[in-house]
């Protein structure tokens, strides 16, 4: 059986499943329950400066997007960093770390952009025995208006500056948490590396308004008739997070920089996907806020079984395995040709493939007698829309045309690998090698 033990920046944990800095890690009570449930580590909810604690709203903090049967697929929050006194948090962190020495305990931090503030807080955290710090450059609401959180994460120079202060003033491993609310995730990651960050974690939440109350004409969650953008998270954001993780993993400037993957991780499979794209471990929040801490049992058994089935011994062996297969569009094989094939035995004749193709694609699925749906190979461009809208798993598949056969749509022979960089239609095409 695979050993899920994980080491991230020298921080050991019994598995690569950590809880992200968020409400589930705001205090000792929750974190002890998480460790008892089996979580490998936590990033303690973000601490701020000493003094009067921040104040949260006393109305709703969360808004939700649902799938069928009120299945929570997206969550938005306007909660700020911890609203508990600094000394209470520090005392609890110390106690928990003492009692769970085998678990990872990283502390998230957010203080104003001056070196003294960082020196102060780092000294306090070091005394707790915590394993490391995570710099919260990601929160998009509230604190950003005060020049912290994503207000720092959106300016690479600030990231670099603060990261450097942290590294100069602490021996602790330093993870920089990135905001996705930027145009190119590689730039802040590069800045973190230049500042000396040991790792990046991503993504933090995405600026969002979950919905609008059409009676009040106010965004939700609504506080006394008004709303503000919050941070979006949960399963709905996973594709965005996966792409950003992969971009950093394959960027020559940041390649090799350890990544902690965050963003809609809900199952062992999500975790494995993040890891395949370069994350060394994952952080979870919305899934436990939906179902409680117990889901880690499924994540442990699932990842373990997967590794066993693949003949692997450690999660580290899948980290980054999919990165070489993430490429630019221009390198995709334009001669790779497939056609949709509908399995008539499993087809339930709903007609969704037909209407999707007929109304919105290439008119490549005909209705035959008795509602038989058949792909017209001469019109099928293999867009995959029929596969995506078919309600029956495996009913429509894409079949590859072998090299040398003729594509009925183009009348041309399927050739060997060839991409855009050498394509005759590309005015910038490189001269084919002699």
């Amino acid at each position: 059986m695979a050993n899920l033990a994980s080491e991230f920046l020298g921080i050991r944990s019994p598995n690569p499943f950590w809880l992200a800095s968020a409400p589930p890690t705001d205090k000792e009570y929750n974190v002890r329950r998480a460790f008892e449930a089996g979580w490998g580590g936590v990033v303690w909810k973000t601490l701020g400066l000493d003094g009067a604690p921040v104040v949260n709203v006393s109305g709703p903090r969360y808004g939700a997007i649902y799938g069928p049967d009120r299945r929570l697929i997206g969550l938005n929050n306007i909660e700020l960093i911890t609203d508990r006194p600094l000394d209470v948090n520090l005392r609890e962190i110390k106690a928990v770390k003492r009692d769970y020495p085998d678990r990872a305990l990283v502390v998230s931090l957010m203080v104003p952009c001056d070196e003294d503030s960082w020196k102060f807080i780092l000294r306090q955290v070091e005394e707790t025995g915590a394993d490391g710090v995570e710099l919260n450059f990601g929160c998009p609401h509230g604190m950003a208006e005060r020049g912290m959180g994503s207000a720092v994460g959106q300016v690479p120079e600030y990231i670099e500056m603060v990261t450097r202060w942290v590294k100069q003033n602490s021996r602790m491993p330093c993870i920089v948490k990135l905001t996705p609310n930027i145009t190119d995730i590689r730039r802040p990651a590069e800045a973190a590396r230049r500042g000396g960050a040991d790792a990046v974690s991503l993504i933090n939440t995405i600026n969002s308004i979950t919905s609008v109350d059409l009676d009040l004409f106010a965004p939700e969650p609504t506080i006394d008739g008004k709303g503000t953008h919050g941070g979006y998270c949960g399963p709905a954001v996973k594709p965005i997070a996966l792409n950003m993780v992969a971009e950093i993993a394959r960027n020559p400037e940041t390649r090799g920089l350890p990544i902690s993957g965050i963003g809609g991780v809900s199952t062992w499979r999500d975790a494995a996907e993040f890891m395949a794209l370069g994350a060394s471990n994952v952080q979870v929040c919305t899934a436990v806020m939906t179902y409680g801490f117990k889901i880690v049992e499924e994540m442990i058994s699932g990842l373990s079984d997967y590794l066993d089935a693949k003949g692997l011994e450690s999660p580290a062996q899948i980290v980054g395995r999919a990165v070489p297969n993430v490429t630019d569009w221009q390198y995709l094989n334009l001669n790779y040709t497939t056609k949709a094939v509908i399995d008539q035995d499993s087809c339930i004749k709903c007609g969704r493939c037909h209407i999707a193709c007929e109304d919105t694609s290439h008119q490549a699925i005909a209705i035959g007698p008795d509602r038989t749906f058949v792909v017209k190979d001469e019109d099928c461009v293999a867009c995959n829309l029929c596969v995506d809208v078919c309600p029956v798993e495996g009913c429509i598949t894409m079949k590859e045309l072998p090299e040398g056969s003729v594509d009925p749509r183009t009348g041309k022979v399927v050739g060997p690998y060839g991409n855009w960089t050498t394509h005759p239609n590309n005015p910038m095409a490189a001269e084919p090698a002699e």
Binding site: D69, I348, K349, C350, G351, R352, I355, I367, R371, V392
Partner: protein
């Protein structure tokens, strides 16, 4: 079992008075908003949907379900009611298992179908909390006579009223609704639903109902044709088939029993036998047998001359009967009924399917009952002067009969199928054709 269930003979009050309400409660309780949302989410919004194709009134089912899923049940109801003004009744009584739901692609996927009937009820119940949503076109000055206030006549009248015509419905019985009021099982039409639906439907205006008007007695076709611009016949089936065997008069038509039960103010006053035999295999047989059980009959048997696969009642209906404790005896035909000291002895002979049809064998058995009902079909007492087809008034595609200016629909007409939903479709289509012919 209460001791009153074992009282011999045909007596009322077999249940405790407090137990009738539970026994005759809604057999398919309505969906709450959350369950409706979950049920609606299961719809695939099929292209050219098989459920709609299977609906005699052609309700755009995927559209109304999507309207429910997006929180607009009133819009869903308009989608339903614009095709089928009695969508509320149809949601309750349609054999959805052989119509829309039976054709749901989820069934082909090996799953339960989308609960179309319950979703339709969810939407129409909300619409019926408000006045009926349709308005009338400018008055045409045309007057149309409708004979029969059953589903066909009501659907025809409502559509004609929408189109701006004035409608007089001539109804033989004291209450409107036809089989909705007198014939459907009580547990499908709880809380006086038939009457409430008609009150709501009549809200469109322009429709008058005259009761106690019987075609061929105090009403004749020639006068209607003279006095109105067009005539629609939605007469239903006035007669019932009787057994063709000795002692046939000891049995009572099941429809009479059901009508008595539906019209009772107090179900504890409806007498029922301790032992009941129902002869037949259609919906009427099921409804009579199940309701006899619900009234407290101890032993109820449906006896059908062919096997269960051949029963006109669907498998779902048969299961409903057997789960209510009704015994279904298949392949047996009645030979004779005789009154004995123990009750009515009904002698049956087993049948076998032969190459030339059903063969009655020599093997017999006898069931003794306190009450025997027949549900072996109803017949039309056709008005004179009409061409008929297999005992029904012959009609063209839009309900035109052989008599100029007279349309027909519902059970009295060819193709009626004895379903509420078919009657509604025929009444509606006849109205459109009447309108077109009057415009022409």
């Amino acid at each position: 079992m209460s001791s009153s269930q074992r009282r011999p003979g045909v007596v009322p009050g077999r249940l405790d008075p407090a137990d009738y309400a539970a026994a005759f409660a809604d057999c398919a309780p309505p969906l709450d908003p959350h369950r409706a949302r979950v049920a609606a989410d299961r719809c695939y919004f099929c292209h050219d949907a098989p459920c709609t194709a299977a609906c005699p009134t052609g309700i755009d089912i995927p559209l109304f379900i999507r309207q429910i899923a997006t929180g607009t049940p009133e819009a869903a109801a308009r989608t339903i009611l614009s095709a089928n003004i009695l969508g509320g009744t149809c949601a309750r009584v349609c054999p959805t298992e052989v119509l829309c739901e039976g054709n749901c692609v989820r069934v082909a996927a090996g799953e339960a179908p989308v609960e179309i009937g319950l979703l339709q009820r969810f939407a129409t119940d909300r619409a019926m909390a408000a006045p009926q949503p349709f308005t009338r076109a400018a008055a045409t000055g045309r007057r149309i006579a409708v004979v029969g206030a059953g589903p066909a006549g009501l659907a025809c009248a409502h559509r004609l009223a929408m189109l701006g015509h004035e409608v007089t419905i001539h109804e033989a019985r004291p209450r409107p609704g036809g089989l909705n009021e007198y014939g459907l099982a009580a547990y499908k039409m709880v809380d006086d639903f038939a009457a409430r639906e008609i009150d709501w439907l009549m809200g469109i205006g322009g429709i008058t109902i005259e009761h106690g008007r019987v075609l061929g007695a105090d009403l004749n076709l020639a006068d209607l044709r003279d006095g109105f611009d067009a005539v629609f016949l939605g007469l239903g089936l006035g007669g019932t088939n009787a057994l063709d065997c000795p002692g046939a008069d000891l049995a009572e038509p099941a429809t009479d029993f059901i009508a008595r039960l539906r019209q009772a103010d107090d179900l504890s006053e409806v007498p029922v036998g301790r032992r009941v035999v129902v002869i037949g295999g259609g919906m009427t047989a099921i409804d009579a047998a199940v309701q006899a059980r619900l009234l407290g009959a101890e032993d109820v048997a449906i006896v059908y001359r062919r096997d269960r696969d051949a029963m006109p009642a669907s498998e779902h209906e048969q299961d409903h009967a057997t789960s209510a404790g009704v015994r279904i005896v298949e392949c047996a035909a009645p030979k004779a009924l005789a009154r004995t000291d123990a009750g009515i002895a009904v002698a049956f002979a087993y049948t076998e399917a032969g190459p030339d049809g059903l063969v009655v064998t020599d093997e017999t058995f006898t069931l003794t009952a306190d009450q025997v009902f027949t549900a072996i079909g109803q017949t039309l007492l056709p008005p004179e002067g009409f061409e008929t087809q297999r005992g029904r008034i012959a009609i063209g595609p839009a309900g035109r009969t052989s008599v100029p200016g007279v349309w027909a629909g519902g059970d009295c007409a060819q193709g009626g199928e004895e379903l509420t939903v078919t009657a509604v479709a025929q009444g509606r289509d006849a109205a459109l054709d009447i309108h077109a012919s009057l415009q022409g």
